[in-house]
């Protein structure tokens, strides 16, 4: 029985004591959700995914009792990022703030769980939510509406103008291990004030034990449906790292949108290292002159994992620049689909857009697809894109073996290097080390 009903949404809103406008927002989304068809694997954005294997009726959307962070998975992440500006945790339906640097709080930084933001920062939040609704209503699908109707955890971060913060803000979303079929609907909203600088690490993790939850022969899937919105005001600089490290029965749908205004920049790094299906759309909208968007991707699949990434670099104003470097490596029978959209509006003259997608196939049965999509309406632009798909270069392997490395070690070194060409530009050493470790573990992982 599906819990995605009008009654469920009403109760969600009432239980949380939400204001009327939000209830209306949710109910409107629910109606759209019910009207929307299930995404089809024949559609452009859902091709090569396993969305047909996900039975939404089996997903429980009710919130379990409050849990405090004491578990090893989140503790490990916390310990890694001991040098941080603050942390917010979410598990199924609940979020709480772990900490926030006192000096930053005094300086006016707001970093709170999303339900607290609904109570205390309603105006800002409402503006953000509604701006999003107005802008891209027509492109939303069933999962987007589902997220709007049901979001129940996440964080709100607001940085005052001119504040430069080097340490990262940490958001950890953990899928509860207690039962299969559970769900998480986190929403992260980031607002960087004029000329501020901020970095955020948004991590999706789950306990190892979840991996083995098998119901008969059919895996019972859990769902993460995440939404992230970044608003970078003039001259600000936002670094956003999203780590998707979920178990092999987790179906994740994620959408991340960055709005970049004059002379501001948003750099995103998406790391996909675990999930039954990871399906992300990352878009950067360059709204005013001087805006810059960089989107990096490091995706590593194995076994039967499916990884699907769509990037959108949308140039909506003149003199804007964007740069995409998305890299995918696949072991075993893993499958990936990358779609890179470059959109240049008629007014966006002097656009400079760059896109590269490289795919390394380590397993004989691994498959990677790469599709660039260009929609260029301006006539004075520089756009380039390139994609490669292929196995590890045997001459590279031979070279390393001539120096004594066995074949496996040689290939591992080459794969690590393949990702390092992306990760080298990452300024945050802690995040960088963590991502390296996640990749390394997966490289060394033998088939069970």
């Amino acid at each position: 029985m599906s819990t995605i009903t009008r009654e469920g949404v009403d109760n969600l809103s009432i239980d949380r004591g939400e204001p009327e406008w939000l209830k209306v927002f949710r109910v409107n989304a629910l109606e759209k959700f019910l009207q929307s068809p299930n995404p089809s694997i024949k559609s452009d954005t859902w091709r090569k995914t396993r969305v047909d294997k996900l039975n939404l009726a089996e997903i429980k959307t009710s919130s379990p009792a409050f849990q405090s962070p004491g578990n090893k998975t989140e503790q490990q992440v916390l310990e890694r990022f001991s040098e941080r500006a603050g942390a917010v945790f979410s598990t199924t339906g609940n979020s709480w703030r772990v900490d926030l640097d006192e000096k930053l709080e005094k300086a006016g930084v707001v970093f709170v769980p999303i339900d607290e933001a609904i109570k205390n920062h309603a105006e800002s939040l409402k503006t953000l939510l509604e701006s999003e609704t107005r802008n891209i209503d027509e492109s939303k699908d069933k999962f987007d509406w589902m997220q709007e109707a049901l979001f129940n955890c996440g964080a709100y971060l607001e940085i005052p103008a001119n504040l430069v913060i080097e340490k990262p803000f940490l958001v950890v979303n953990k899928l509860d291990k207690s039962e299969a079929g559970c769900s998480l609907f986190p929403r992260v909203l980031i607002k960087a004030g004029k000329h501020s600088k901020v970095s955020v690490v948004n991590a999706f993790v789950c306990d190892d034990e979840l991996d083995s939850t098998v119901d008969g022969d059919v895996k019972k899937l859990s769902l993460v449906n995440a939404r992230n919105l970044i608003h970078a005001e003039a001259g600000s600089s936002v670094s956003y790292i999203e780590v998707q490290a979920l178990g092999d029965n987790c179906f994740m749908v994620g959408k991340s949108t960055g709005n970049v205004t004059a002379d501001a920049s948003i750099s995103t790094l998406t790391v996909g290292v675990g999930g039954y299906q990871l399906k992300s759309e990352i878009s950067t909208r360059l709204l005013e002159a001087g805006a810059h968007g960089a989107m990096l991707g490091v995706v590593f699949g194995d076994m039967n994992e499916h990884m699907s990434y769509n990037t959108i670099q949308e140039h909506a104003a003149p003199n804007t620049t964007s740069d995409i470097n998305f890299r995918v490596a696949l072991k075993d029978e893993a499958v990936s689909a990358y779609q890179g959209n470059i959109k240049v509006d008629k007014v966006a003259q002097k656009t400079n857009a760059y896109q590269t997608n490289k795919n390394l196939l380590l397993g004989k049965s691994a498959k990677a697809d790469s599709i660039p999509k260009l929609e260029i309406l301006a006539n004075d632009v520089k756009c380039s894109h390139g994609a490669t798909v292929g196995p590890v270069d045997q001459d590279q392997v031979f070279y390393l073996m001539v120096r004594g490395l066995d074949k496996k070690t040689a290939e591992e070194l080459i794969v690590a290097g393949f990702f390092d060409t992306v990760l080298e530009s990452l300024p945050d050493k802690v995040a960088n080390d963590w991502i390296h470790d996640l990749i390394k573990t997966k490289i060394h992982k033998e088939r069970a």
Binding site: Y399, V402, R403, G417, D420
Partner: protein, 255 residues
């Protein structure tokens, strides 16, 4: 291996690449303490020999065998050959983007020596080798051969040899593409590999490097086999008269 058995012996070696026979019966014996120069025109099969000695999967041995320290290595995987002390300095070293020179060197020293070396010790060893070969420090943080000039690539090859200290080093056209100063440094690097316990096979088509590295034996390679062997004087004769007289002489003896 018995004390008097050769370090490397190649017996009637036949090799095919993509169904085409390139090596047509190579015979060569190299003892410890010896430096051999293998000379010949481009396309005569010299590089095929070096790749085959290291076991590149594209090169198929269809006849004969290779023995190293008395052990048949014809079917042995490349990395095992390397760990036995055999290695190759490439004519065209491949770039490996994302893998830094220092990471790569540590991994290969660890593999060849069979154990991890303490970082401090490794750095010291590295510094000594780099100073000696005039390799700048920046090399270490660059990606292996990525964006390297021809000369830089050759220096890196020699630097690896100096670190790994192979007992049997094959140098494939290590002199090509080097200016005279680089040639001198690289040659010094090669000379430092010479010892009474090791041997070198130097593949070249110029006599130039032999002004700095003195071979004990010189062989002429022609159409997939060694057709003439002699002492150092042979290389001088080749430099003066080219390879034509060798082929002419061959034609007259086989006629």
């Amino acid at each position: 291996m018995s004390a008097d058995s050769p370090l490397l012996s190649i017996e009637n070696l036949h090799v095919e690449v993509e169904d085409k026979e390139i090596l047509k019966g190579v015979n060569l014996v190299i003892n410890v303490g010896e430096t051999h120069a293998l000379m010949g025109r481009n396309g005569s099969g010299k590089s095929t020999l070096s790749y085959t000695l290291m076991g590149h999967p594209k090169y198929k041995v269809t006849g004969g065998c290779m023995k190293y320290k008395g052990q048949d290595i014809t079917e042995m995987p490349t990395d095992e050959r390397a760990r036995l002390g055999l290695t190759l300095a490439f004519q065209y070293p491949v770039a490996i983007p994302g893998v830094s020179v220092s990471n790569f060197l540590r991994a290969s020293v660890k593999a060849v020596r069979g154990q991890e070396i303490p970082v401090k010790e490794f750095r010291k060893e590295l510094k000594e080798v780099m100073d000696r070969l005039g390799v700048p420090k920046q090399f270490l943080s660059r990606y292996v051969n990525d964006g390297f000039s021809g000369g830089e690539k050759k220096r890196l090859e020699i630097m690896q040899l100096a670190l790994l200290k192979p007992q049997m080093a094959i140098l494939d056209e290590t002199d090509s593409g080097l200016d005279i100063d680089a040639l001198k440094t690289v040659s010094e690097g090669v000379n430092s590999l010479v010892s009474k316990d090791s041997a070198i096979l130097l593949i070249t088509h110029y006599q130039r490097i032999l002004n700095y590295v003195k071979p004990d034996h010189v062989h002429v390679f022609h159409e997939g086999k060694i057709v003439l062997s002699g002492g150092p004087e042979l290389s001088t004769k080749l430099e003066e008269h080219g390879y034509d007289w060798v082929t002419q002489e061959l034609a007259s003896t086989t006629a």
